[in-house]
Symmetry: C2
Subunit: 308 residues, 2 copies
Amino acid sequence: MADNKVLIVGTMAFDEVETPTGSSGKIIAGSATYIALATSFFDVESAIVSIVGRDFPQDYFIELSKRNINLEGVEVDNSGDTFYWKGRYHKNLNRRDTLVTDLNTLANFNPIVPDNFKDAEVALLGNLHPRIQLSVLDQINTEKTTIIVDTMNYWIEGTWDELVQVVAKTDIITINDEEALQMTNATNVMSAAKKISKMGPSHVIIKKGEHGALLYHKEQTFLAPAAVLDNVIDPTGAGDSFAGGLAGFLASQPKLDFETMKTAMVYGSSVASFCVTDFGTKSIVNTTFSQIKERVKHLKTLVHFEAP
Amino acid sequence: MADNKVLIVGTMAFDEVETPTGSSGKIIAGSATYIALATSFFDVESAIVSIVGRDFPQDYFIELSKRNINLEGVEVDNSGDTFYWKGRYHKNLNRRDTLVTDLNTLANFNPIVPDNFKDAEVALLGNLHPRIQLSVLDQINTEKTTIIVDTMNYWIEGTWDELVQVVAKTDIITINDEEALQMTNATNVMSAAKKISKMGPSHVIIKKGEHGALLYHKEQTFLAPAAVLDNVIDPTGAGDSFAGGLAGFLASQPKLDFETMKTAMVYGSSVASFCVTDFGTKSIVNTTFSQIKERVKHLKTLVHFEAP
């Protein structure tokens, strides 16, 4: 992984989040935003491919640029507003209801990958319509690039055939536990991981929220812990910042083997554990790499034990 | 812990379990049964204090005796039948409905602790009416004995004042995650563990089913993994065999420090992972200690990682 490039395709959005303890107001969010911020802790050059509307603040582009995030692939579509999502979390923060989804200019999204990111070390395709993910895969050097794909129930239910095509070309898939069961008709995550692996990805990562994440790779299994927190404010972006931390760590390493993947997942978990302690990207932008590393050490202490 | 004794107080029962894949028929079960079998893997002498009715098979006492399980404290009450429980698990095996609970002779249970177990190294009070747990605590040397208590929502809702008295005298409490939240009005397990610890127990263990178990002790935290299984048949007894494995390992060790507790939890998790692969006690009685140790090693591989 020579020049440590990460290509990120996802949404840039406005979110409005209600939780049992408060309300975020209208804030900047979106999968590509969280992912890019998470990758920026590592020694990598990231590029976002996304679309925003006329209402997206220019100041925020400057903030992202300062973090070595390339924005050539972000289209500003002045014909409409930026993608907007409003949701409300239950007392159990694992559950949420979507109140509003306004696609706005996201409906016009036609991703164009910048030339110098077509052979990035890692491409992370955030949760989007599989047709858009396929269009990106058609533009990049899939032989050279490690493809990470995130997906969700909406695409499992609505666009199965296209999703199958995406998954077939994927090296590392990240998916929630419930959605993995839904996707495979399995009754446990282990069976689900095995079935998904047969669809293409050599690495299957099942995200279990506060219970961490499972990696399945060629009959080997690893459980990455999640930090045990008593100060979770807003879980939005946890999965994206996990995937971004994973992608950033991987792209910064000389090789991708099972040990590297394990450590990458724990780095992802560390980044996610900061993300959730405030609304939107507020916490993640105020976190330092030394804090991320400290939390990785803490996670090691949390799960390591001596056995005779 | 000189002579490695474990005192076990709990139910001996008939269960009938329905799962999405099958039905157990009427089988021998109960918290004390699972706990005692789990302790019998270790170099300890265990004693059960329980009650059964006229219908409990004498053969089973012989089976337990062969495993060095002392049955002096088991009362055979010929005035009625043995405690009977029937339940049905959902497709999601974390959820179950109770169909029948016949207390039968359990309603007459008046625990009498055998003299030579009044200063056991470890006393494990299974999930029972707190009044019964208190009666046991009154009979034993609580200064010398490490007291482990298991409880559940039924007692939190119905017998709060007595439960508080039990918890105040407890060294190690084991409780499910949802019930820990219910008991403390907390919104996350970390806060719940801290609150429960203030009620008495120096060690709080929050059981998270397939997601493992959390230990909280004086600001230190440990996450014991659960094995990732694709062959779970019947989760009944998982919590009891976890607690039994924990108690058995602790009683077999020269001292109880944080490292010992961590390893003990992983041994508990290992025993539980065998318990759930068949109905009732079928799997646990056919498991060897070398399999238990192998699984502990596997659990280490499952969660250990390298961090720079």
